[in-house]
Symmetry: C2
Subunit: 555 residues, 2 copies
């Protein structure tokens, strides 16, 4: 039996799951793991400017690559990264968080060590991280192979972050080499349950006249997106998406009816009124993004499909694995035919893109520049609120963080996603308030030669907040920067294009002449109270929800 | 009885403890608290670029002001700040962390809310923060006044962070106004215990021939520094400090014997060998900073004084309040007289400050520019390691984070400390690796018109780590920036001076001509493997401690 060091074992297992980059920051308790990373082929370290940025980058990498790894040093690194890891849990993104921790004898003897409270407690960090990971383990030579495999499988199958602590003096000790590689395997399921459910689903579908698929973010996270698209295409089933489930299915198809809940009496709502089979994928219904409640969907007609269970008429069946179930469903040949509702002809908008930039026209103008296959990131703030209802061309992906909503997330996530798919064209839309949080990561993005199109909305501060409270309060202001100089400072030797845009005409010119051989940074000057219509409605309703009727008035 | 809203009550209580600035980042769950902050006189909000920076700034403010407040928004804000708050706990810095959290009905009904896992769990954030705060509470109208007062007193008296969650829909509800202001009161103590201990201390001191005070960081944190200095001055007691207790007592006094453990057979060690009364203030003995173990101090002769207890010959007496105890001790008139050991005459070093910059000369050169009353911040890395043994002039303060050691801390801490004492001259010494972590806070420092002297050690990456592991490994490299442009970008309208220094001569010229009417940024170009002597020794010993004999070799 061959043996291998614990550190190498870990990196090899991650490589087998197709992790090619590990994001993180070095520290004395993880340097030995970095040395071991250098020894394993096909997997590399990507140092970021700080650990929060590393966690966001890992999350972005996981979304595009399928799974990611994050490396921190004990305490200071773990806690700095925690907000990002919690985001991965909230959004169901598989990230393996690996922490190099003090040597085992220091833990056992409760030594007063740096990066701790110097009181001998080595559980507090673990207790904190445990709140935001699906499972965790402190490795020892006796448990290492089993815990690593368990955590990685969990991470992959349940689409959630997991946490491994590796005492620094153990990672060079040897354990048995694994007998077979780890693979991206689906979770186990109960076969009879699947048969039963396929029977139910095909039965219901055959009887249906007006079926509808309603898709939310979990469809992608649970790896059902491809199958759902195939299902809709094959049987011509119309579909719609929650704004939080944006761009998971093809928004250029005639089957696509728009965003749920949609406008009163639009095609979607008319169709919904007569729908007799609604397959909904794990809708989240959070007040923050959709302001929708489940009770709006008819109980009898709606089937809720999640990663590991499905609910018909309020009865839930466990023991399934949704992507496998859908594959099996696709192997059936179901006899059915449906009418697709006619959509009003897409009147190419007659908006004239002239005059000073305004969000009411901005997004309509921008969307014509998106191409099939683009990957588009929308930061929380006016960018995400606007993009959530801008239809994308075929095969575009949308990357945002609607549930956790930690601003600054998308810039490092851009780094991560581009490392996973450098040949995909990436757009990032981000406000000045969000950009400041994690701005230094621009240096890694540019210095690695990545070529994103970054569109920055400079509206002098936190516009989304101004619509909630403090319209003209100074607490919603932020320091104004010279972004052109900033880019030069962060990447002195890199060629990129920077454009400062104040009118719609200028924007057309800039986008028409986009040079994709370089990174582009387009700064849009917007007035502080200019916002998408959805945000103008969203603000006051959030204020009422949050502060109640005796709360402050927004002056 | 007058009534007041919960939010106002909180801000008023903090103002009574002399908190004039609240550091943080707005978010929808705390905007109502920001509105209320505007209504209270003499206390203002200082927005930082992100929450980690806010936590570090609050810590810096607390160190210079005595106590601080930090305002975050639920989940995303709390967790982003957590590493900074944990640092405050590790280092015993009183920071009141206030989080605006979702409305009470959302918590009670477990609604699926943004900034949560959208699964109805509102305890996970609290559980995580609880690990790193002394006490915490979720406010309701029924407990608010009592919990606010309790938390604030704890924070002040025990010198540790505390955590308050305020549901967003409650802060405008009214509670009874407090009948008397909150004051910076010492903790209670047992009077007889104090008498007993004063008896023991004076008795022991009278009998002593060679007393020594040995001071560590807790002396300052427990507010005993002034009294200890007075005690030493009054009775001419020689003193020394741990490197982690640097600059708490006057390092320019003839009573000062240097840093413990010192060099073999120096004045300190010679004196220690005959010392018959050693008063040591809560030494931390962490491997990371001092590599010293308690067992080196003689058991019989050593008295350990902490904030709330004191140990004589391994017997511990509880129920004391150290600063009060010392005040009472100072009221005694003790008959005693001691010989102060003669120190070898300070041979003004004959180093010639010429040639390319080298750390072996750098700190000796710099120290002659420090003036009485300066506040000096030393970031972890070569800066702190070097500064820990550079004696300072009278009344200088040193601000560093030796236990928690989270790099990037000092830049926002500089903002906080300068907000507390804008008229004190502040120096910051920081490496390029640390600066990148929190660099955007430069914009607030400059745009607020603060005038620090920032000395940045540009040695192309993580030099301290290179001495531990990965001498020439790429994981210890960082992206190189143009720092001059960076400053211009972060503060387009502010005048400051930037200097790029490569030789000792240049450094003298720059420091001789320092213009204190502007902020200064001095970039020192150092080679990657240039380091203070202490670091060269420290690196390999950390590697052995962390990785053990089978660990990697540093090539
Ligand atoms: C880490 C974190 N801190 C604070 C918040 C609260 N917050 C939500 S949106 C927002 C402002 C975003 O401003 P900007 O990026 O400029 O977008 P705009 O709405 O102005 O386009 C803030 C501060 C948050 N979501 N996450
Ligand atoms: C938040 C955090 N991440 C990682 C570390 C590990 N660490 C300790 S010192 C150091 C390098 C500091 O480099 P620099 O500031 O350039 O100082 P130098 O030693 O080069 O002077 C690192 C990465 C840490 N202490 N804190």
């Amino acid at each position: 039996m061959q043996s291998v060091t614990i550190g190498r074992y870990l990196w090899q297992r991650l490589r087998q799951l197709n992790v090619k980059y590990v994001f993180g920051v070095p520290g004395d308790f993880n340097l030995q793991l970095l040395e071991q990373l250098d020894e394993v082929d096909g997997i590399e370290f990507v140092g970021t400017c700080n650990e929060l940025n590393a966690a966001y980058a890992a999350d972005g990498y996981a979304r595009t690559n399928g799974i990611a790894a994050l490396l921190t040093t004990y305490g200071v690194g773990d806690l700095s990264a925690l907000c990002g890891v919690a985001g991965s849990l909230a959004e169901h993104i598989p990230v393996v968080m690996i922490s190099g921790v003090p040597p085992m004898f220091a833990i056992r003897n409760r030594l007063r060590i740096h990066h701790t409270m110097a009181e001998g407690d080595f559980d507090n960090v673990r207790n904190a991280v445990r709140q935001f990971t699906l499972t965790e383990a402190r490795l020892t030579p006796s448990n290492a192979s089993q815990e690593i495999d368990r955590a990685l499988r969990y991470c992959w199958q349940e689409r959630c972050p997991v946490y491994l602590q590796i005492p620094s003096n153990l990672s060079y000790l040897e354990i048995a080499q694994a007998s077979s590689p780890l693979t991206r395997q689906y979770a186990s399921y109960d076969k009879r349950q699947h048969q039963l459910i396929i029977g139910k689903l095909t039965g219901r579908l055959c009887q249906a006249k007006h079926p509808l698929l309603l898709v939310d973010m979990d469809a992608e996270r649970s790896q059902m997106a491809i199958q759902l698209q195939q299902l809709c295409d094959r049987y011509q089933i119309p579909y719609a998406s929650f704004s939080t489930g944006k761009a998971i299915l093809d928004e250029s198809s005639p089957l696509w009816l728009g965003y749920y809940p949609g406008q009163t009496d639009d095609t979607l709502n008319q169709y919904l009124a007569k729908a007799d089979f609604i397959l909904a994928t794990a809708p989240c219904y959070i007040e923050g993004s959709s302001m929708v409640a489940t009770q709006d969907l008819p109980v009898e007609e709606t089937i809720y499909l999640r990663g590991f269970d499905i609910t018909f008429e309020q009865q839930t069946f466990e023991g399934i694995c949704a992507p496998v179930l859908l594959n099996q469903l696709l192997e059936q040949s179901i006899e059915c035919q449906f009418d697709i509702p006619k959509q009003p002809p897409q009147t190419r908008s007659s908006t004239s893109f002239e005059g000073p930039l305004q969000q009411s026209k901005l997004w309509e103008q921008l969307r014509h520049y998106f191409k099939a296959g683009d990957l588009i990131l929308g930061e929380n703030g006016s960018a995400n609120i606007a993009l959530q209802t801008v239809p994308f061309p075929k095969d575009c992906h949308y990357l945002s963080q609607p549930i956790w909503g930690s601003i600054g997330y998308t810039l490092p996530a851009l780094l991560g996603s581009m490392m996973a798919a450098p040949n995909k064209r990436h757009w990032l839309f981000i406000g000045d308030g969000s950009l400041q949080m994690t701005v230094q990561e621009l240096s890694n993005i540019l210095q690695k030669g990545l070529k994103p199109i970054i569109v920055m909305l400079n509206n002098s501060g936190y516009t989304i907040e101004r619509y909630i409270m403090g319209k003209s309060a100074t607490y919603n202001d932020i320091p104004q920067w010279d972004y052109h100089l900033l880019l030069k400072a962060f990447a002195p030797d890199i060629e990129f294009t920077y454009q400062n845009v104040t009118t719609h005409q200028q924007l057309s010119e800039v986008l028409d002449a986009l040079d994709e051989t370089k990174a582009s940074f387009i700064e849009l000057k917007l007035s502080a109270m200019d916002a998408p219509e959805r945000l103008k409605q969203f603000g006051p309703s959030v204020a009422l929800f949050d502060y109640g009727p005796r709360g402050p008035q927004n002056k």
